[in-house]
């Protein structure tokens, strides 16, 4: 097993303006489940493809297991990758799909059979081995792709949005299965997604990317509670963190909607108060959102649905945030101005 490391990785595509990946340094630990999270076009897939050897970097180095592999083709890196489309070979049976990497390694037929049996057993697809990919459901295809990745016992798993082709229901259970599966085999995994729920739920650590750069690396808790800048603060969390300009300090005050409560509930003097004008309320079953404004700035507050609130639409009331839930950002650069835990 092996850790992955990117050193100063940069990628410029010919003809296409700026850098898709702009000098990234990132290292996983051995056996870690590391998630690359970011909006589409942020460069996360490009970074993954460079680690897989499918795209040559313009500058920088890729290390797997401590060795530089930058100029090696994919097949010399002993990695496995699961594509968004699963990229099953349409002209082969499931068995041959899974055995394909073993054929490449020229393993004896008997060993191939044994290993395919083992991998398909782990993923519960033993009964599908004679089918062609087009006869499988989305979930089954995903398992075949995982079995094919697993069968060669690679140094590293690279997963490119492997759940995005599943419907919402199936996705939730697949998330759970995938994480358990990774824990069991213990292979270092780099997982690309734009879905914050997947990232928060599965990652040991998350690296948030935007515009070719890494904005923050940390555990899900650190990223959510202590965003390093306004991008991370608003990209994670739904609804996102409120950002309110503070006239006196020239900073942006940031706080999560669930930390924005009526002043009467915020006891003690460590609370910062804001006048909150409520425009509209929204019931979402388990929770309730209040849409409104603090001064000119759109602001959202979140409560459990059963909370008893003396709030009227159209009225302005005193709300407050506890001082330790209040984050301060630079208005120009968007960077945090107070102490942060767990930066990269």
């Amino acid at each position: 097993m092996a850790a992955i490391e990117a050193r100063g990785i940069t990628k410029r595509f010919d003809g296409g303006g700026g850098a898709a990946v702009d000098g990234i340094d990132l290292a996983s630990t051995d056996g870690e489940f590391l998630v690359l999270l970011g909006p589409s076009g942020c460069g996360k897939t490009t970074l993954l493809r460079m680690i897989g050897g499918l795209e040559p970097p313009t500058a920088g180095d890729i290390l797997i297991g401590g060795r530089v592999v930058t100029d090696l083709p994919p097949r010399a890196r002993h990695i496995a990758m699961v594509f968004q489309s699963y990229a099953l070979y349409p002209h082969m049976t499931v068995f041959n799909n899974i055995a394909f990497p073993l054929q490449a390694a020229k393993l004896p037929k008997e060993t191939q059979k044994q290993k395919v049996g083992w991998a398909s057993g782990i993923l519960g697809i033993d009964h599908l081995l004679d089918r062609k990919p087009r006869q499988l459901s989305g979930g089954q295809r995903q398992r075949v792709a995982l079995a094919r990745a697993l069968v060669r016992e690679p140094n590293v798993f690279l997963l490119d949005e492997p759940l995005s082709n599943l419907d919402a229901q199936r996705r939730a259970s697949a998330r759970d299965e995938l994480q358990q599966f990774q824990r069991r085999v213990g292979t270092t995994t780099l997982y690309v997604t734009h879905d914050q729920v997947e990232a928060m739920g599965m990652g040991d650590r998350i690296a948030v990317m935007d515009q070719g750069r890494i904005r923050q690396v940390g555990t899900p808790l650190e990223i959510y509670d202590d965003p390093a800048d306004t991008f991370v603060a608003t990209f994670l969390g739904s609804p996102p963190m409120n950002l309110i300009p503070d006239g006196a300090s020239g900073l942006l005050f940031g706080f999560r909607p669930e930390h924005f409560v009526p002043a009467s509930d915020a006891t003690g003097d460590d609370a910062v108060r804001f006048p909150f004008h409520v425009h509209r309320t929204e019931y979402l079953g388990a929770e309730r959102l209040l849409y409104g404004a603090v001064g000119e700035t759109r602001t959202i507050a979140r409560f459990p649905a059963n909370a008893d609130l003396p709030i009227h639409v159209g009225a302005t009331s005193e709300f407050a945030v506890r001082r330790r839930d209040l984050k301060r950002f630079d208005r120009e650069t968007g960077l945090r101005r107070d102490q942060i835990r767990g930066i990269g």
Partner: protein
């Protein structure tokens, strides 16, 4: 001033009935025009072929009498003319030569176009498409512009006056055309599959061989069909480079050898043409949409 209000009133029952009658009449008129037009175009396109087929089975006494209705068999049909074609002319030789030329041209075309089309769609980056169009335009350079210098090239290669000349020269137009056709195919195959194969431990060439080629079999078939069709269609180079009858292919053999002299054996001649023309047309027709997709340079999507 208020804008004028336009409101369509709902038609009453009488109006509806009238509309319905009118629509039926219009439909009937449209159908008649449609069927007449279809008949006219079919007659125009198929006339020479119909006459060709009718002629093949006619006896001399029937055919060569201007007072006989040419569209009927005034004497019973016969196969003598076809027999004559195979037994007393070099038609069989022409067919044999055509088969040899076709096989070689198809193989050369495949060997050259598959790697080229792959390279242009996958490896050449943003230059691939432009280079592909440039190569396609080479196909439009007409044989009539090139046959004089090529006759020298053919002579230098020592294949003048032999069907090998066609084997050498024909790929110069099948390759550009089929490269472009095949590029369209490769573009429609997702990159994932071959990248997965490379991740799975194969080299780029291994990935092409094991994943790209098996899923592009329809594309390869199209290349085979069109290099075959273009070979069978070609006339000018064959005419320019081959003069001895034992080396001729069908399209020049039939038109130069069988109508030499004053005596035309029209029935056998037409048989010679029809035997080749009809199968080629059927084959071509099956792949016509692919052909047009290539020809329109992507000006038509879908």
């Amino acid at each position: 001033m208020a804008a004028p209000v336009y409101r369509a009133s709902l038609p009453d029952a009488n109006e509806l009935a009238r509309e319905r009658r009118r629509a039926r009449l219009r439909r009937f008129g449209g159908r008649s025009v449609l069927y007449s037009a279809a008949s006219f175009f079919t007659l125009f396109a198929a006339l020479p072929f119909a006459w060709m087929l009718l002629t093949v089975f006619k006896q001399n006494a029937d055919l060569y009498d201007p007072n006989h209705n040419p569209f009927l068999y005034n004497s019973p049909p016969t196969l003598d003319n076809v027999r004559l074609l195979f037994e007393q002319t070099q038609y069989a030789t022409f067919i044999r030569n055509t088969v040899f030329v076709s096989v070689f041209v198809v193989v050369i075309t495949l060997v050259a176009t598959v790697p080229a089309a792959y390279s242009l769609t996958r490896l050449a980056g943003r230059w691939g498409e432009s280079l592909g169009i440039a190569i396609f335009l080479v196909y439009l350079i007409p044989p009539t512009l090139l046959f004089i210098p090529l006759s020298r090239v053919v002579a230098e290669l020592g294949v003048r006056n032999s069907w090998w000349a066609m084997v050498v020269v024909y790929p110069s137009f099948t390759i550009p055309f089929c490269t472009w056709l095949l590029m369209g195919f490769f573009k429609s195959i997702p990159w994932d599959i071959e990248e997965q194969a490379m991740i799975d431990g194969y080299s780029r060439l291994g990935a092409i061989w094991r994943t790209v080629l098996p899923v592009s079999i329809p594309g390869l078939l199209t290349v085979v069909v069109f290099s075959l069709a273009l070979t069978l269609h070609e006339f000018v180079y064959a005419l320019a480079f081959v003069t001895s009858s034992a080396e001729k292919t069908i399209s020049i053999g039939v038109t130069t050898e069988l109508i030499r002299g004053d005596v035309y054996f029209w029935q056998s001649l037409m048989a010679a043409a029809a035997i080749v023309a009809i199968p080629v047309a059927i084959l071509y027709n099956l792949f016509l949409d692919r052909f047009i997709a290539g020809f329109t340079l992507g000006a038509v999507k879908g």
